[in-house]
């Protein structure tokens, strides 16, 4: 409990990292729910990797003098722009080919994942910025976060959650029954595009803070755990968000107590929760069958 008290001490050096973790924990699963219900889990693996490649690419342009010198905070903005352009661009290209119904979707997503992963490492290793924490960040080691970064991330996440709530019925309709949406005169391309933009921006923000593998974990694992018990879409979203938030806090606590990297600890904790939840679900269904 002492470690928990320290974590929430206003003087705690890594307090902003705690808040960022909590934000990611609560918000990523809300977006991840759409990846799970639309059976786009592979997309959840590939997009964070593509996003990190976007960050690496933006910093490479900067390092090679193709973008003028920027202040530190502007550099973060540059990284976010790189991540968002790459993520949303890839989403749109994948969605376009999906709509054409040609070739194998898994093959395209797998190719995007492999290429993005390879190029992220190549670009970062040949870039002096890679030595200034960026490589660690993209490996999931949550490090110190500036106040302005925290504020902007919180603001953007707030806006994204507001959008997700306001347009929930449109997003659910185009996800569940695209044909019905067209019959009702809805602009399916617009609503799909807006949903993909929200997914892309959330992933970009998350990858910049905690790296691709931790982002993937927070996107997918909480909705999968919540799905074991939820009876409605509302329960699924709420439960996934609560599981993500509390796992982020628990993960930070464990990592701080035992001097472990935060991101991988968060995901290991989510994995343990998934295993326990799955066991409880199986046991309860066996019990109800025998009763």
């Amino acid at each position: 409990m002492e470690a928990l008290r320290e974590i929430f001490d206003p003087q705690f050096l890594l307090r902003n990292s705690v808040y960022i973790s909590l934000l990611l924990g609560f918000v990523c699963p809300l977006v991840g729910v759409y990846l799970v219900i639309r059976r786009l889990i592979f997309m959840g693996v590939a997009l964070p990797q593509v996003s990190s490649c976007g960050i690496a690419f933006a910093f490479t342009l900067h390092a090679r003098g193709l973008i003028p010198h920027l202040e530190e905070n502007s550099e973060h903005g540059l990284a976010l722009v790189g991540a968002t352009v790459f993520t949303i661009g890839t989403l749109l290209v994948l969605a376009f080919f999906e709509r054409q119904q040609r070739g194998m979707a898994e093959g395209r997503i797998g190719t995007a994942y492999a290429l993005a992963g390879a190029w992220s490492i190549l670009l970062l290793l040949t870039n002096p910025y890679g030595e200034h924490g960026l490589l660690e960040r993209l490996q999931g080691k949550i490090i110190s976060v500036a106040d302005l970064d925290l504020f902007l991330t919180a603001l953007l996440f707030f806006l994204l959650v507001v959008c997700l709530s306001l347009f929930k019925k449109e997003f659910l309709l185009v996800s569940y029954d695209r044909e019905m949406a067209l019959t009702l005169g809805k602009n399916v391309t617009f609503w799909d595009g807006l949903l993909f933009a929200i997914i892309g921006l959330t992933i970009s923000l998350a990858v910049f803070s905690v790296g691709p593998s931790v982002t993937f974990g927070f996107l997918i694992l909480p909705p999968l755990i919540a799905r074991l018990f939820a009876r409605t879409m509302k329960q699924l979203s709420m439960a996934a968000s609560v599981i993500g938030g509390f796992s982020a806090l628990g993960g930070f606590w464990i990592a701080y107590s035992y001097d472990l990297p935060v991101g991988p600890t968060d995901i290991a904790l989510l994995g343990a929760i998934y295993a326990v939840a799955f066991g409880i679900r199986k046991a309860s269904s066996l019990l109800s069958q025998s009763a």
Partner: protein, 231 residues
């Protein structure tokens, strides 16, 4: 009966491949049309085109009134993902999304309209059950309720009696007969000839990329049925 929709030289298909070419037809207000044809002949393609799901590559669909009629669409139920955690009431409420502007939540009025639609199809007791957990016939009633919720001028149904048991077929047939009024035109794809005979006044045979039309009595005459090519 005056025309509700006119299909003018309609060519429609997937990608560059045209399934139907140069279709000319009128859907009259209050009519009940049975769309028949072999598997893969283009019945569903034509229905989707009328619904606005599949835009024509050539020709056009002209709405004769001052505005586009409200369309209720009942898809083949296998096309819907069963993994969504939706109650039947929520599925029916989706049919009302066209009425409620973006950014506004579905309210009490929409919930009442959805319940009424479920009552019209005799599925009110299923409102709070999960859509994925009910039988095929019950699903069909819920999907018809969803299409009815928006109070459509035109009800399009894609094989509404496929894979459902005999009592459900009878119930759906009776409901369609009951609802087919001057205010509600029905177009239905169906392989089940007794259902088409019971509901349709007009039949469109979809064959070799074109549509042959006539009254149900003409098109379903014994002679004509006997001379149909075997699939």
């Amino acid at each position: 009966m005056k025309p509700l929709i006119t299909l003018e030289n309609l060519t429609v298909g997937y990608g560059r491949k045209a399934v139907l070419e140069g279709v000319k037809a009128k859907i009259l207000e209050g009519d009940a049309i049975g769309l028949l044809g072999a598997n893969g002949s283009g019945k569903t393609t034509l229905l989707k085109s009328i619904a606005g799901i599949l835009p024509p590559s050539e020709g056009k669909i002209r709405f004769e009134g001052t505005k586009r009629p409200v369309i209720g669409y009942v898809p083949q139920r296998e096309s819907l993902d069963q993994s969504f955690l939706l109650s039947n009431l929520e599925v029916v409420e989706m049919g009302l999304c066209g009425r409620v502007p973006p950014g506004r939540f579905l309210g009490r009025a929409e919930r009442t309209a959805a319940m009424q639609a479920l009552e019209r199809t005799g599925a009110a007791d299923l409102a709070h059950k999960r859509f994925a957990e009910i039988s095929g016939g019950q699903k069909q009633r819920v999907l018809i309720a969803r299409a009815l919720a928006a109070d459509p001028d035109l009800l399009l149904l894609d094989e509404p009696t496929a894979g459902v048991d005999a009592p459900a077929v009878k119930a759906i047939t009776e409901l369609l007969q009951l609802w087919n009024t001057p205010g509600m035109t029905i177009v239905m794809v169906n392989h089940d000839l007794p259902v088409v005979r019971a509901v349709a006044r007009t039949v469109w045979w979809v064959r070799e990329g074109t549509v042959e039309q006539g009254t149900a009595a003409e098109m379903l005459s014994r002679e004509r049925i006997e001379h149909l090519p075997v699939e």
